[in-house]
């Protein structure tokens, strides 16, 4: 497919970018252009953005080094955030524990053993206040990796920011809020798909109208890939979900160009280097084309696919764990050469635990080495024009395109309905599990080499590093929650939850104001979610 921007158009755009005065040169002094290609090629910053969404890419702005952290209680995670910022991290990202992700309180019997273990425990707005203590929410952007209870946590976040004098219009960040991939891959769902989508709609409408710096959905292929999908499936399923949210927001009364520029994506950065670079290029091209031609978007920003990348957790090995540094560096480089806007690098110890401070620092340093030492940031889309990478980009586009057409057909012309039907009938999980199985068979047969696992093994015992998490601070969190339950006005809590329940029954009402009111009354995540579950029902799925 040839989209000929023409070099002169690109030169005009580049000369207006903040990078126009920059001069690139190699270590030996050879001068480097900001981009390469023949006069009639496609250029970065122009439709369909195969080569990147900005004319100057990293010469005008480096990617955000956004490190994901969360464990124990809110004050412990807050301390880690301060360490990340002090070490030069430019964004923060919160990992929540399993009970929070599933919308249950730390003192719920089902939470036993899980509190503060895989992430930070958040029960009430008091925890949110401690989590961001001393962090200027009007300056640093935050990311919240939460889905089923996203609306509740988002309400607590906004209510807390405003309680500290930062108006919602000034707060910048990202809510993951991608519930479709929960049914397809990650399985942290609570309500059935349709009422869950109503909450996504409410957060999108609220953020679009009131929070210009907020990205209300981060459409996530990361978990689909970690669950075992191929690269083409990752692109197809993620973009399908993106198109479904576009249809959802339009049903909610928003014009496509009012919210599409606020959508962002989250992709995996896996170990098959060139395929990953081609994956990002093909995803940008498909998104731009469909948004313009199928969804009728006119604003260029609606066509531009912005993405965060995270190196592949599944590629890390517990055996010979020092090898993981090499894997993460290679994966991070693929994300950068593929034009990522934001990046998290995994720590080498994540094959067995949450990262230690030291390991997280080395992971951040890996990004800094790529950004400041290697010189790869000088040239936009440096692999563009490679016959191999261009061909791979076309092939992934074609494979993903076929899957997208199939889903559209399943939904009789609606991607939203296609996704819902394909969730119901196990279409997504079938594809993903088949791919995961094929991968594992290849590893078991030695057809796919994993260094230190099925090849180049040695006698050195697999290290048994200490469990970094301890008991997750369970006792402390229970104490914190008990204190809030004791101090708060329970009549006010009851009253706000009644309002929430009444409004949940009316699908036309936006639930964000009621959720913020309940948050301020110090209702817990579990109380809010069970109030909603009484109206929406709970989702159960039997093994196939």
């Amino acid at each position: 497919m040839n989209h000929r921007t023409g070099r002169s158009k690109w030169e005009d755009a580049y000369s207006e970018s903040p990078a126009a005065q920059s001069h690139g040169a190699t270590q030996s002094g050879v001068s480097i252009d900001p981009v390469y290609g023949p006069d009639d090629a496609e250029y970065p910053g122009f439709f369909p953005y195969t080569r990147g969404i900005h004319p100057a890419m990293y010469r005008s702005k480096l990617w955000t080094m956004r490190m994901f952290a969360g464990f124990g209680t809110a004050p412990e995670t807050n301390q880690r955030f301060h360490e990340i910022i002090a070490a030069g991290g430019t964004g923060i990202s919160t990992a929540y524990d399993m009970p929070t992700l599933l919308g249950i309180d730390s003192d719920d019997p089902r939470a036993l053993g899980e509190v503060g273990r895989c992430g930070v425990a958040i029960d009430t707005i008091d925890d949110v206040a401690d989590l961001y203590d001393g962090i200027d929410l009007g300056a640093i952007t935050t990311s919240m990796t939460i889905n089923a209870p996203a609306a509740a946590l988002f309400a607590m976040f906004v209510a807390n920011a405003e309680a500290r004098g930062v108006h919602r219009s000034r707060v910048g960040g990202t809510l993951q809020n991608d519930i479709l991939k929960e049914y397809q891959a990650q399985h942290e769902y609570v309500f059935p798909p349709r009422p869950s989508l109503r909450l996504v709609r409410d957060t999108m409408v609220f953020a679009t109208r009131e929070m210009p710096r907020w990205h209300p959905v981060s459409i996530s292929g990361y978990h689909i890939r970690e669950a075992g999908s191929t690269a083409a499936q990752e692109v197809a399923f993620t973009l399908a979900n993106g198109f479904a949210y576009v249809e959802l927001a339009r049903r909610g009364g928003l014009a496509v160009d009012s919210f599409a520029p606020k959508l962002s994506f989250f992709f995996n950065a896996h170990i098959d280097f060139f395929e990953e670079v081609a994956k990002y290029r093909s995803a940008r091209r498909i998104w731009a084309t469909w948004m313009r031609d199928f969804y009728g978007a006119h604003d260029e920003r609606s066509w531009q696919l912005r993405f965060h990348a995270q190196t592949a957790g599944v590629s890390l090995t517990a055996q010979q764990p020092d090898n993981n540094h090499a894997r993460t560096a290679i994966e991070a480089l693929a994300a950068v050469l593929g034009g990522a806007q934001s990046l998290h690098t995994n720590s080498f110890d994540e094959a067995w635990t949450l990262p230690s401070s030291e390991a997280a620092r080395v992971a951040l340093r890996t990004q800094q080495v790529i950004a400041y030492e290697t010189n790869v940031t000088q040239v936009a889309d440096p692999l563009g024009g490679s016959w191999f990478v261009e061909s791979l980009t076309d092939q992934l586009q074609s494979e993903a395109g076929q899957l997208l057409e199939e889903l559209l057909e399943i939904g009789a012309g609606s991607m939203l309905e296609g996704c819902l039907t394909a969730i119901d009938n196990g279409w997504f999980e079938g594809h993903i599990t088949d791919a995961a199985y094929a991968h594992e068979r290849a590893v078991q047969r030695g057809e796919r080499i994993i260094v230190g696992v099925n090849a180049f093994t040695d006698d050195s015992p697999t290290p048994s590093p200490p469990n970094q998490i301890g008991d997750g601070g369970e006792a402390l969190q229970l104490q914190r929650l008990r204190r809030v339950r004791h101090e708060r006005n329970s009549d006010a809590v009851h009253h706000t939850l009644e309002r929430l329940s009444a409004e949940a029954h009316d699908a036309e009402v936006n639930l964000m104001p009621a959720l913020m009111e309940a948050s301020l009354a110090r209702a817990t995540v579990g109380e809010i979610m069970s109030t909603l579950a009484d109206v929406f029902g709970r989702y159960h799925v039997s093994p196939r």
Binding site: M98, P99, L101, L102, I104, R110, A111, L112, G113, E114, R117, C118, Q186, H187, E188, E226, A227, G228, V314, T317, A318, Q319, A351, W352, T353, T433, A436, Y437, E440, R441, Q444, I450, V453, N454, T462, P463, S464, P465, P466, N467, I469, G472, V541, S542, P543
Partner: protein, 131 residues
């Protein structure tokens, strides 16, 4: 005799790539495999182990809550009279292995364990359990 295995996900942990794949691989190896699905309580798993009269129960735990959850499953099974050995697959720090063994876990399988090792261990456990 064909080995009957119950593979189970206990608690809040939704990671099911491993359990989906191991279910198919054990079936390829000729075993009868029953999978509980996600988010099971220890009591449900114990009840299923008894009702299905399985030879072995395999728990898949990737959330780090193995020290809490594995003993609860074993206790619930023994209370219902199931003496089937319980094995755990997932991410288990070395320092936790003794505690799991002490709680009655018959074997653990960390990341990268070969299928041959898993099959051999399950067959050995079945033989031992019958004597």
């Amino acid at each position: 005799m064909t080995l009957r295995v119950l593979v189970a996900k206990v608690g809040l942990d939704g990671h099911d790539r491993g359990v989906n794949v191991i279910t198919r691989l054990l079936r390829d190896a000729g075993m009868e495999v029953i999978y509980t699905g996600l988010f099971q309580s220890p009591e449900t798993i114990a009840r299923t182990a008894v009702d299905e009269d399985v030879d072995i129960v395999g728990l898949s735990i990737l959330s780090g809550a193995h020290l809490t959850l594995a003993p609860l499953v074993i206790t619930a099974m023994r209370e219902l009279g199931s003496e089937a050995p319980v094995v755990v697959g997932g991410i288990i720090p070395g320092e936790d292995l003794d505690a799991l063994r002490h709680a009655g876990v018959a074997a653990t399988f960390g990341p990268g364990t070969s299928l041959d090792d898993i099959v051999a261990t399950l067959e050995r456990l079945q033989t031992t359990a019958q004597h």
